[in-house]
């Protein structure tokens, strides 16, 4: 009796998965991968590598570590994809892993810098660039990494999700694993901090 119930449930979930895979390309790729198609994971990798890399780069701020962390994120996804329950969007799940890994790496980097005797180059731009430099920068669009480098680590995740991934506040809350209210508060503080820092740096331009 119990086995029949489980079998029913499995059949139903497979039906739901079939329906979902017909609609959502991510689910389709995952189903392909779960069915043994190894190229399916490469498709997932290709689709999301830019997003994941830029989220991580925005939070960590250095190319090499962002590269390593991106690979670690995809390794973790590769290991745990079989346990993915399809209860949330795959992208949300992936970005959550990316943000958590990136925050861990950024904190570890901060600790290493704290105990290191080496003089690490300052990530933040010089407070008062010359007018020439300002004019050049004004004409160029800045990278997300350079912009987020002026705010502390704890503000970067919410900003990168909002302004790079263009997530709604609900998606941000889901990705960060907090309530919508908490996400709003974090976003408000991060925006305020970014505005103050950015204004202070570019005051004389």
């Amino acid at each position: 009796m119990q086995q029949e119930i489980f079998a029913d449930r499995r059949r139903n979930s497979m039906k739901e998965l079939d329906v979902a895979s017909s609609i959502d390309p991510d689910v389709r790729m995952i189903v392909r991968y779960l069915e043994g198609d190894q190229h399916a994971f490469d498709d997932i990798f290709h689709k999301y590598q830019t997003y994941v890399y830029n989220i991580i780069l925005g939070i960590i701020g250095t190319d090499d570590e962002a590269r390593d962390t991106t690979q670690e994120v995809f390794l973790q996804v590769h290991r745990s994809l079989r346990t993915f329950r399809f209860q949330s969007q795959f992208a949300t799940w992936l970005y959550r892993i990316a943000v958590n890994r990136a925050m861990d790496a950024a904190r570890a980097k901060k600790r290493r810098n704290w105990f290191s005797f080496e003089q690490t180059p300052k990530e933040t731009p010089s407070p008062k660039p010359s007018p020439e430099e300002g004019a050049i920068e004004e004409s160029e669009r800045k990278s997300i990494r350079d912009l987020l480098a002026i705010v502390p680590i704890q503000h970067r995740d919410v900003l990168v999700l909002k302004y790079y991934q263009e997530m709604s506040i609900e998606e941000i809350a889901e990705t960060l694993g907090c309530s919508v209210t908490a996400a709003k508060v974090r976003l408000y503080r991060a925006r305020q901090y970014f505005k103050e820092r950015y204004t202070a740096i570019h005051e004389n331009e």
Partner: protein
């Protein structure tokens, strides 16, 4: 003035909404409120413009290009056995070493303070002969193996023996003295052992610290000890009180008199301490200081006598000269618990006071342990 104050309040209310206003996230009501305020407030308008510029730059930020060979490197990492390297930072290594060092220090401290565990009851004779009681650390009372807390049934074979003197013995009025150490232990094999150990330690301490004018006075009232035990203890205390030089363990001179019928015995010298008893302690009265008659050579030693049926209450006080250095360490609850573990569950023992002083050289100068026993009817 009124306008300025209301303007300030309104700015405080409006400014938290400005970033959301710039991003178009406000409800219509809030948006209208903000717009109405911005028309009249330069400061908020300036801040709104700053938000618009900075967040606009953030919105137009360009993504960085993905490094080349990211996928191929991923594949090579995937095939390598260690695909999940764990980094252990310097702080963790430092923390591990620190914790290990701390544990070592704590272990060494504890191992220096706790005397070796006593043997079982059956080997009392052997213990006595082997000089087991040669500890001078009364504060850390040893716990015999296999003893549990209050909930366990009394293991002493003497615990259930009725005590005819419990309600018959009035407490002797005693003088108060400024510095005294006392031990009051009663009615159990464990209690007797405690007393014996502590007495021995006190005597050792005293004999070692003659220069500090340390004296011991003692009162032994009644006893469930053997005759030999009573005699030995009383005599030892009396001799110490009279300034007897250090004597070896179990090398007491023979006692002439030991009364087999006298259940109570008191040996006193000045100063004598007032009893520290909060519980329903047995009432006792002092009896003759003369030791009961008996032949020591016929006795078998500690724990070997037949007369153990009576409650024992002993107070041993030692006086200390005021010149002894002051630093002391109070016994805390753990030791009270340990003392209680030594006593059968129908005797509740409370460690009232416990101190020891250590001089500047780290030597133990004096010890004070006060144990109060509440005897419960058997």
């Amino acid at each position: 003035m009124k306008t300025n104050s209301s303007q300030t309040v309104r700015c405080d209310l409006i400014r938290p909404l400005l970033s959301s206003y710039v991003e178009g996230e406000l409800t219509d009501d809030d948006r209208l409120r903000v717009e109405a305020h911005l028309e009249s407030c330069d400061a908020c308008r300036k801040e709104e413009r700053e938000y618009r510029i900075s967040l606009g730059v953030l919105k137009n930020a360009t993504p960085a290009p993905v490094p080349e060979n990211l996928l191929s490197e991923f594949h090579s990492k995937l095939s390598s056995p260690q695909s999940n390297p764990r980094r252990h930072g310097f702080i963790w290594q430092l923390g591990t070493v620190g914790v290990a060092a701390l544990l070592t220090i704590v272990f060494l401290k504890i191992s220096r303070r706790i005397p070796p565990a006593p043997p079982t009851h059956n080997s009392m004779q052997a213990r006595n002969a082997s000089g087991y009681v040669k500890t001078n650390n009364i504060a850390m009372l040893p716990i015999p193996k296999g003893r549990a807390g209050h909930g366990e049934a009394p293991q002493s074979q003497y615990a259930k023996i009725p005590n005819p003197l419990r309600s018959a013995m009035p407490i002797e009025p005693r003088k108060k003295s400024g510095h005294h150490r006392s031990i009051r232990v009663a009615q159990s094999n464990h209690a007797r052992r405690l007393l014996r150990e502590n007495l021995s330690a006190l005597s050792n301490t005293t004999s070692q610290k003659q220069n500090n004018n340390l004296q011991i006075s003692a009162q032994v009232i009644a006893s469930n000890l053997s005759r030999l035990e009573r005699t030995k203890l009383a005599q030892k205390i009396a001799m110490l009180n009279q300034g007897h030089p250090p004597f070896e363990e179990d090398a007491l001179p023979p006692v002439k008199a030991a009364s087999p019928n006298g259940p109570m015995m008191t040996m006193m010298s000045e100063p004598v301490q007032a009893p520290v008893s909060r519980a329903a302690a047995p009432v006792s009265k002092p009896v003759t200081p003369n030791p009961p008659p008996g032949n020591l050579e016929e006795m078998t030693g500690f724990g070997g006598g037949a007369e153990r049926s009576l409650m024992a209450e002993k107070t041993i006080s030692s006086k200390i000269s005021p010149t002894v250095p002051a630093p002391s360490m109070r016994l805390q609850g753990e030791n009270i618990q340990r003392v209680n573990e030594l006593i059968p569950s129908n005797d509740r023992v409370t460690l009232l006071k416990g101190e020891r002083a250590i001089n500047s050289s780290g030597e133990l100068m004096w010890i004070r342990v006060v144990i109060e026993t509440m005897l419960t009817p058997h």
